[in-house]
Symmetry: C2
Subunit: 411 residues, 2 copies
């Protein structure tokens, strides 16, 4: 496979995203407490005025602000206290000119009150007499009805991943239930005659199944349901059968290779055999990750990932993850990018994207990205990186000190 005959990473991503966009996984209704981390299937529009009544944001006295004009320590405004608003209750009080009412934080403002004077700027002379030592403007220390949100305000957009703080906003507006997309179900297959289960002691020549555990953990961390279909030897019939099973049960499938050429051929052949569009991409001009495969079995995308765990991880991050997010209904994807300076020269071959793993080191108020090196076959270096830096095909490397963007792997 020649790099220059492969599609670029950008082309591959466009192809994969175009197919992901046509997915329709359906929605379900969940209780608010279960909605965090899910993707909203419809806009959540506020159906009322929030707050539903004018509220005080401090402990103090509700007033007509004009009555406090020019009040000061020397010449306080003199007001008449006509009563007290109780917490959590409606009030029938109506302020006439020169009148005030005690109000607690969160309490309802009486009619005609348009501001609240903080307790510390008042002095209570007797039951009915109040001195105000600081003027307030209309709206001060209070929130008008509907000032926070009003009928039609978009609280959460369709396609938005609902964060814990969004839950608070939805609670405020009475969303006891939320319509969310069904959880994406992704099948994971590990292939290779040399692969044994994690509980086995590998014989010489064998290695344990790493990818199905890592990929399943990444999927679960994104809020998807991961189904591990175990290890399939380099055997076409077995792979075809398991892939058919996975494609029937899941929304998407990942097959991690099989580093041998034969194993990759089996993946291609099995995808083609199951009908539908078949293999749409075989090989990407990217390092690592060249032997990546993408195809469709009916409406189910199948990703053939490199067998090497670090390569599989990088292709998952660069190609699979964005596609799954689109399938899951996530319209606003936040890939968190941190600006940094690369700590040393890095050579790369032009004509392909080259993706390096970096550690982020803070220094003098900015981040430096230090490449994680080491032989590509090493597994343990996998956890040393904070993020990835993509060196574009038109570049022949990075110079020490050059500005880069680090796509965070975890934070």
């Amino acid at each position: 496979m020649d790099f220059f005959n492969c599609q670029t990473l950008a082309e591959a991503r466009r192809l994969v995203l175009a197919h992901a966009a046509s997915a329709d996984i359906g929605s379900e209704t969940v209780g608010l407490a279960a909605a965090a981390g899910r993707i909203a299937a419809a806009d959540c529009l506020c159906r009322e005025e929030l707050p539903s009544f004018p509220r005080s944001t401090v402990d103090g006295y509700a007033v007509r602000s004009a009555d406090t004009f020019a009040a000061g320590e020397g010449i306080p405004a003199l007001l008449t206290v006509i009563g007290e608003v109780a917490m959590g209750q409606t009030t029938a009080l109506v302020l006439g000119p020169g009148q005030a009412a005690a109000v607690p934080t969160g309490g309802m403002l009486p009619s005609n009150a348009d501001a609240v004077v903080m307790l510390e700027h008042t002095e209570r002379v007797d039951d009915r007499t109040l001195l105000v030592t600081k003027p307030v403007a209309p709206g001060d220390n209070s929130i008008a009805r509907g000032e926070d949100a009003t009928t039609g305000t978009v609280l959460v957009r369709q396609g938005q991943k609902i964060a814990p703080l969004d839950i608070g906003v939805l609670a405020a507006c009475g969303f006891a239930e939320v319509s969310v997309y069904r959880r994406l179900k992704v099948g994971v297959l590990s292939t290779g005659d040399e692969i044994v289960d994690v509980s086995a002691l590998p014989q010489p020549g064998q290695v344990r199944d790493i990818n199905s555990y890592t990929l399943a953990a990444l999927l679960e961390a994104s809020g998807y349901t991961a189904i591990r279909y175990g290890i399939i030897g380099d055997n076409y019939a077995s792979l075809r059968q398991k892939l058919a099973e996975a494609a029937a049960a899941c929304d998407a499938v990942m097959v991690s290779g099989g580093s041998s050429v034969g194993a990759r051929d089996y993946t291609v052949k099995a995808i083609e055999a199951l009908g539908g569009p078949g293999v749409l991409l075989h090989g990407i001009a990217v390092k690592p990750g060249k032997p990546t495969i993408f195809g469709m079995v009916g409406a189910v995308p199948v990703f053939g990932l490199p067998g090497h765990p670090v390569s599989a991880l990088i292709i998952y991050h660069q190609l699979v993850r964005p596609a799954l997010a689109v399938m899951a209904g996530e319209k606003v994807q936040r890939v968190f990018r941190v600006p940094a300076k690369i700590s040393r020269n890095v050579a790369s071959a032009p004509g392909r994207d080259e993706i390096i793993r970096v550690r982020l080191l803070p220094k003098d108020g900015e981040y430096w990205a230090e490449p994680v090196f080491g032989k590509s076959g090493l597994i343990c270096t996998m956890t040393e990186a904070d993020g990835l830096v993509v060196i574009a095909p038109e570049k022949s490397g990075l110079y020490a000190g050059e500005q880069v963007e680090v796509e965070m792997l975890r934070c």
Copy 2:
């Protein structure tokens, strides 16, 4: 409550963390696939050599590297192929001087081989004759036995949150099960006569329960089990009973106030009534979050948070979250901080920490932190911030362009 008589945020944090450190929540053993996001209860030490055999990292020919010395396109080295290594199988081949063996990516190296020549740097003349056009050094394109990890290598440290990529490293080293700390169980109580459930239509003067939903969602996002104890009116007997119930069932409890002074008094009184050290902190010199309470009911920390959702969120982030992480056994806490420049002048009162919410905006390869303003009573501004900036007590504000660190709320 006077700011200058309160403890500082740093003092409060020290106090709370000291109590959190004495928690002992116990551990359990889980299967590897369930270990992501959990905290390791013991060091995971490699118990074998990884890889267990010398492996090729490319498709090519295993050689004795000395035999390729000075090989080039013009004068290739001439080697004798004595066989082929099969994938996933042991090999009995032994290389003599001038000999080579075909080996696939991941295949085992024959005895005496110390490097692999990539396929593209060889030419097979006939069944037994190989031309090598590029020299290799010892170790090239191969991994020695134990080069990745060796007996005793620390794969995951006690107290480390196990990330998806750590799962891969543990899989490689045969950890089918992992000892992790038990999931922290945290009770959440909302108090206040004015609070109604999210499914209710608030009457004038009432507001819906926001905090117990937001806090529970934040807890679950951190991997803890959240138990919502519902809404308790401003009634000492009810609060005391629910708090006793929660403290008996949970590892820690959060009581979100009651913005009224009376409600706060009930929280203090209920904590004191349940025995144990009682209330240890009442009021912090921080804005927002001044009315924060901390106490111990036996071995169970109880946090009294401000009633206002934004204040509750900030105190959760600054004080509760680090304490819960310590209780959960997490030794290495990654608060993700992004260096940025503040976009405008921000005034703050000296003598207390002031915490502002900011949005992060990338510009010219660096981030600018734009303060999220708006009246403190507004709920919907809660979701507009990316992170928090702490203005230290000795400062009287920030100047536009000043360097700050943003503690990320989400990313």
